[in-house]
């Protein structure tokens, strides 16, 4: 089933690469945000999530720190990786099963694994992770505003060699770099 497929994924898969499409639906089901790009993950703590449009953003976890580079804004925010809550898809896909069970109650349907935050500290109500061909293929995140963010993964390659350079980041010349304290979000 889906839960077993997820456990196997965490056991067997070390690197994941592919492309993604992400869109957010508002509570009326209208698409209010759409973006796409490519990603590479080297479990358990390195990934590179690259948004191509409409705004280009690079999110890089190098194993110690999480870099967020907003290209159009000439700004990089960097924070300690360990302190970042595990709700983002990249963290979900790269962490390990024990982390997941610690953060979320896991339940299973025919089509997905349902993740319900245990301590409510997460910024969302529920997430659903659909497994296919031995890897996560779609992730949906519901928040209490009735919005759903869906991330679809395609052209996924498992355990292929990954250029480790993708998980290193050097802020380009002339870009402002800010240390963000780890747990601040909007509030």
């Amino acid at each position: 089933g889906q839960l077993q497929a997820l456990e196997d994924y965490y056991r067997d898969v070390e690197t994941v690469q592919g492309v993604f499409n992400q869109f957010t639906l508002d509570d009326r089901g209208q698409v209010i945000e759409e973006s796409s790009g490519d990603f590479a993950i080297h479990r358990p703590d390195r990934f590179h999530w690259s948004y191509a449009g409409p705004f280009s953003q690079e999110i890089i976890a190098d194993g110690e720190r999480l870099w967020v580079y907003d290209v159009e804004l000439d700004q990089v925010t960097v924070r300690d990786q360990r302190a970042v809550l595990g709700s983002a898809p990249a963290q979900l896909l790269s962490g390990d099963y024990a982390d997941l069970e610690e953060l979320f109650e896991l339940a299973e349907t025919e089509d997905y694994v349902r993740l319900t935050p245990r301590d409510g500290g997460e910024a969302f109500d529920e997430a659903r992770l659909g497994m296919r061909d031995g890897h996560p293929s779609a992730l949906e995140i519901d928040d209490a505003l009735g919005q759903v963010t869906r991330v679809e993964l395609d052209e996924v390659r498992l355990n292929d060699a990954v250029d480790e350079e993708r998980f290193r980041f050097e802020p380009p010349e002339g870009v402002d770099v800010y240390e963000a304290d780890p747990d601040e979000g909007i509030r």
Binding site: Q57, D74, F124, A144, L145, I186
Partner: protein, 182 residues
């Protein structure tokens, strides 16, 4: 470079520029905002819908996490967050200060974001670019720099606006403008 265009001609272009925006009442835009205040740095996705005096602003962190929605009309603004809490205040400034601790000129931003000085505020400084669009303006202690423009069905609207006041800075990149004149 501003010397190439005679002063009065740029003024005339600026008047035309303001007229072009006079009936701009209904619009929506997507954005990315980078806010830096007192050493804190936040990077957000932003979606702003303005229908006359009524507006909805969606803010969210990466992957839609921590989504916050601000719905406002003159005299009443409500903020709802991703955990189901909501709060109401008279003005967006009061609400954001109470909920996030950040001082943000949301009401003025409504005009700045479409490229014009904020209504009802003194204009302490205004410089125009070669074609009569604002290049930089200063109001209520905020310095507003228009870093780029994009043509939206014949009307130039900003593609990036930087706001600075003291140690607070907010950069907003804008894309996907849509507007309807009434």
């Amino acid at each position: 470079c501003a010397l190439l265009v005679p002063e009065d001609e740029r003024e005339a272009q600026y008047e035309a520029f303001l007229e072009e925006r006079a009936e701009l009442r209904d619009w929506s835009v997507a954005g990315r905002a980078a806010l830096r205040a007192e050493g804190e740095a936040v990077s957000l996705s932003l979606r702003w819908e303005q229908r006359g005096e009524v507006y909805t602003i969606n803010l969210s962190g990466p992957f839609g996490a921590g989504a916050v929605r601000i719905e406002g009309q003159p005299g009443r603004v409500t903020l709802r967050d991703g955990a189901g809490q909501s709060a109401t205040a008279q003005s967006p400034e009061e609400l954001l200060a109470a909920q996030t601790g950040h001082q943000l000129p949301v009401t003025a931003l409504r005009d700045w974001i479409v490229g014009r000085p904020a209504d009802g505020l003194e204009v302490d400084e205004l410089s125009l670019d070669r074609v009569g669009r604002p290049d930089r303006l200063e109001q209520a202690g905020w310095r507003v720099d228009f870093q780029g423009w994009t043509d939206v069905d014949g009307v130039d609207l900003p593609s990036r606006v930087d706001l600075t006041r003291g140690s607070t800075q907010m950069r907003v990149a804008l894309s996907g403008w849509s507007r309807s004149d009434d």
